[in-house]
């Protein structure tokens, strides 16, 4: 009977790891490539931009003869994109001002995703009372619009970057938790989870080792979407003055400071940060979209054999 060795004739191509196939299918779409190019370009601007900025972010523009520039001057050789509301260089402030938006959005999304995934997994796996309590608490947080919740928190405690990350992160959590729980509910019923329980795999390893890898597709889509939203929320909070404080450079803050420039014919102080934030959200959502299309394609094409 030992001569009945099973013929394994699966071609070598099919032995790739599932996520390699998924990422390849994601990258194969034009939308993903466009999104990645946009996001990388903006990350580059924010990351290395300050090294190329002609002025310090809070320094006034000085003309060749040493005199200071006036507010809202149109583009000139001294200030390529003109000056802002108190005569600083718009280009320099734009190059300096991306870091905070990107870092805060990324940090708050990361915080929300980590908490949300942990909470959602725990709720789906434990079921019963814990599930109810946890998810109804999430619903309470969810009932507040994200911006309002952040505003209330920041307004009571006072503006601080850590608080802003916390506020946006906490409001991101229930949304990620819901998606996680929904996707995990089906997976916790699978026999491989029973099998792991039977041999005594620790609960934490069941959550993150058995269940989590099977729901990565919807989670990646959700987290990318949350990042897109959070970029806008962070920018809005800065615009309202709850983020970085003047004279620091920040895209959201710049829009607020330079609003009057639109009326006097110097739009660059508003247009540049708005364009950057807009492109950034478009870029991240294109990537998320590409990924979700790839995930559906792969999930749909995977039969029983």
């Amino acid at each position: 009977m030992t001569d009945q060795a099973i013929a394994l004739d699966a071609p070598a191509v099919r032995r790739q790891r599932p996520w390699v196939i998924l990422l390849r299918a994601t990258w194969g779409q034009t939308r993903t490539k466009v999104g990645v190019v946009i996001v990388l370009a903006l990350v580059a601007v924010a990351g290395v931009g300050p090294f190329f900025a002609p002025y310090a972010p809070d320094a006034p523009v000085q003309r060749a003869h040493g005199e200071y520039a006036l507010p809202f001057e149109p583009p000139s050789s001294a200030a390529l994109l003109g000056t802002d509301n108190i005569g600083r260089d718009v280009l320099s402030r734009f190059l300096w001002g991306g870091r905070s938006v990107l870092a805060l959005a990324a940090l708050s999304t990361l915080l929300g995703a980590v908490l949300g995934i942990a909470v959602g997994l725990l709720a789906a796996y434990s079921r019963g009372l814990l599930d109810e309590v946890v998810m109804r608490t999430m619903d309470v947080v969810l009932a507040f619009p994200q911006l309002v919740f952040a505003l209330v928190l920041v307004a009571t405690v006072g503006p601080s970057l850590a608080l802003m990350v916390f506020a946006v992160g906490i409001t991101t959590m229930p949304r990620v938790a819901r998606v996680t729980r929904g996707a995990a509910l089906e997976v916790v019923e699978r026999d491989y989870v029973r099998a792991a329980e039977g041999i005594g795999v620790p609960r934490r390893r069941i959550l993150f080792g058995e269940i989590l890898p099977n729901i990565t597709s919807p989670l990646v889509v959700e987290v990318t979407l949350r990042l897109t939203f959070n970029i806008a929320v962070i920018a809005a909070l800065s615009f309202l003055g709850f983020g970085l404080q003047p004279p620091a450079a920040d895209w959201g803050l710049m829009v607020n400071e330079n609003r009057q420039g639109l009326l006097v014919g110097q739009p660059w102080g508003v247009v540049m940060p708005v364009l950057a934030i807009g492109l950034l959200t478009i870029g991240t959502s294109l990537i998320g979209d590409g990924f979700s299309r790839a995930a559906i394609g792969i999930e749909g094409g995977r039969g029983r054999t």
């Binding site: 394994l8 032995r15 491989y192 041999i199």
Partner: protein, 595 residues
């Protein structure tokens, strides 16, 4: 005699690549005749079944041939014409009735829709409705008609699907494994209904199945499909008594029999997938009769006797070998140990408020295999899970080697968790699709023995070899493997823990007959060689003779009969066991009845 259905050289391909799925399939049926279309999964039998309705799955197209119902070619019809034909001229009963019935619509509405869709003169609709239900032996009262599909049992759902299929007296009906998900008793009833209805109304039926025993009891003709072609066709008796194709013979040998007279032999290797079929006879790589000519071209149709056709160059040699000369089963050894390995005493268990086990007692001794037999809902899986610690809400005592076990695996010691291992019913859901086989089998090793690295790898390869897989599967993911291979991996995962008791819960029911035979054979050998205690949970009585020493029969949460396998199978004392035995489809019985 008139011909109800004629399939001629049907050729179906994958749309973009023109890879054959089904080719050169021909057969014909007279009114009232039932053809059994038999094959393993992937043989193309469902594709042929759907083609009779003029339907092909997405990404697949008809490349040639004809399907004629009452002289008209179904494949040449437009979508509109097909729609008006379906249900009226040709109808279909799917494998899973739950997915074929609309869950949000009452039974009455669904049944009358079937009638209304085709009947112009809506005469005595209510009378017809009752007639339909009576035909399939369902109650006709108002209360029943107002139910939704989920309020019916699986057997009742399948009867509703049958009623709908027969409602408009079609000429041809296609049944796609309609009893696969049903218990043997329900299956026996559904089969009898199909047989009676076809005979009474002169409906020609194509019964698609992988289960030869079922087909033998139902069909008058059988066509055996392999890798997209019909390799043998003939009258049922001739085919089973004088099978001329090596594949048909291997299939017959793989069928478990209640008598247990023959050893169960699986077919080695796997059927080639579309696009990977060899140039000659597609069975040649797995065939014991293979000779060089077999690899050159697919064998032509040859007639053995009138009505019995085979596609094999060597059918005359095959025929000389008598089917009766099959290897005789080695009966399981009689080992009698005094002390019990696992003793279950007066267990009561429930799912929520619903009690599923009543005062159940069970004893498994070391080196002994106990079969736990029962229909779905009898509580056999719950009992097995209580023992394995996967179902923690029970009262009573489960003792392992004399010491009481805690309820639930988390409350147990690492040692007892290791000694009792569980293999799940479906290998499609018991292996994590995101883990490689190495990660899957490595997990118990890490947990129980704290070994990793080369020592872990050595043990994994060793265990994989005992289940007849090689080290080459280690870096693969479950979806790279076939169902049988996956189940072997699941067994390897249990064995690597070096258990003393192995619980196998319906481990073959999701697999093809040929694979089932190989897995049962493997378990029997493992039990003998490793001296395992084995609790083999199954609904199929025919499987247990070659494997188990003792059997416990369960019904409605109680053990109705317990004893040595020979005693229970040969002279059952419980009424329920007798019924189960008589309902178990048997090839031998069908042949004996036919003379």
């Amino acid at each position: 005699m008139t011909v109800a259905l004629e399939v001629e050289n049907l050729h179906v391909v994958i749309a973009d690549t023109d890879v054959d799925i089904v080719d050169e399939v021909s057969f014909s049926l007279t009114p009232g005749q039932i053809l059994g279309l038999v094959g393993e999964s992937g043989s193309g039998k469902t594709t042929v079944g759907l083609a009779i309705l003029g339907h092909c799955r997405r990404g697949v197209r008809f490349a040639g041939g004809a399907v004629r119902i009452a002289g008209e070619d179904v494949l040449a019809k437009s979508d509109v014409e097909l729609r008006s034909m379906r249900g009226r001229v040709v109808s279909y009963v799917p494998q899973d009735p739950a997915s074929a019935l609309n869950p949000a619509v009452r039974i009455e509405t669904q049944l009358s829709e079937t009638l209304a869709a085709h009947e112009d003169a809506n005469g005595d609709a209510r009378g017809r409705l009752h007639e339909m239900l009576a035909e399939v032996l369902l109650p006709q009262d108002r209360e029943f008609l107002r139910r939704y599909p989920h309020q019916l049992s699986g057997g009742q759902q399948q009867r509703v699907a049958l009623a709908m299929a027969f409602a408009n007296r079609p000429r041809v009906i296609v049944l796609d494994e309609p009893t696969t998900g049903l218990d043997v008793t329900t299956q026996a009833h559904v089969l009898a209904t199909v047989r009676d209805l076809c005979e009474a109304h002169g409906v020609a039926a194509v019964y698609v199945s992988h289960d030869l025993a079922v087909v033998a009891n139902l069909a008058s003709r059988v066509a055996v499909m392999y890798a997209g072609r019909v390799v043998e066709t003939g009258p049922t008796q001739t085919l089973f008594l004088r099978a001329a194709h090596p594949y048909t013979r291997r299939l017959i040998e793989a069928i478990p029999e209640l008598s247990g007279a023959h050893a169960l032999i699986g077919i080695p290797g796997t059927a080639p997938r579309p696009g990977h079929r060899p140039p000659g006879c597609s069975f040649a790589p797995r065939c014991a009769f293979m000779q060089p000519t077999c690899q050159l071209a697919f064998p032509p149709r040859e007639t053995v006797v009138v009505g019995h056709e085979v596609r094999c160059y060597r059918h005359d040699v095959v025929l000389q070998e008598s089917l009766a000369a099959r290897p005789v089963a080695t009966p399981p050894p009689h080992v009698r140990a005094e002390e019990g390995l696992v003793a279950v005493r007066r267990i009561q268990a429930s799912h929520g408020a619903h009690q599923v086990l009543f005062d159940v007692e069970l004893l498994v001794r070391p080196h002994e295999c106990v079969a736990l037999v029962g229909e779905s809902g009898s509580g056999k899986t719950t009992l097995a899970r209580c023992i394995a610690g996967l179902h923690a809400s029970y009262e009573g005592e489960i003792a392992f080697r004399g010491a009481p076990l805690a309820a639930g695996s988390r409350a147990r010691t690492r040692e007892t968790r290791r000694y009792i291992q569980y293999v799940f019913q479906s290998p499609y859901s018991s292996l994590n699709p995101r883990k490689t086989i190495e990660q899957i089998i490595g997990q118990p090793l890490r947990l129980f023995f704290d070994v990793g690295g080369s020592e872990a790898r050595r043990r994994m390869v060793e265990t994989l070899e005992t289940v007849q897989l090689g080290a080459s599967v280690l870096d693969r993911y479950p979806h790279h493997l076939s169902g049988g291979e996956r189940q072997r991996v699941a067994i390897a995962r249990a064995l690597v823990a070096e258990p003393q008791l192995l619980i196998c819960d319906e481990v073959t029911s999701a697999l093809d007959v040929s694979v089932q035979a190989a897995i049962v054979d493997l378990l029997a050998e493992l039990q003998r060689e490793l001296g395992l205690g084995l609790l083999f949970v199954t609904h199929n009585l025919a499987l247990i003779r070659t494997l188990a020493q003792e059997v416990a029969v369960m019904s409605d949460g109680r053990i109705v009969e317990r004893g040595l396998v020979e005693r229970v199978l040969d002279s059952p004392s419980a009424e329920y066991t007798r019924k189960l035995l008589s309902d178990t489809p048997s090839l031998e019985a069908a042949m004996a009845a036919a003379g």
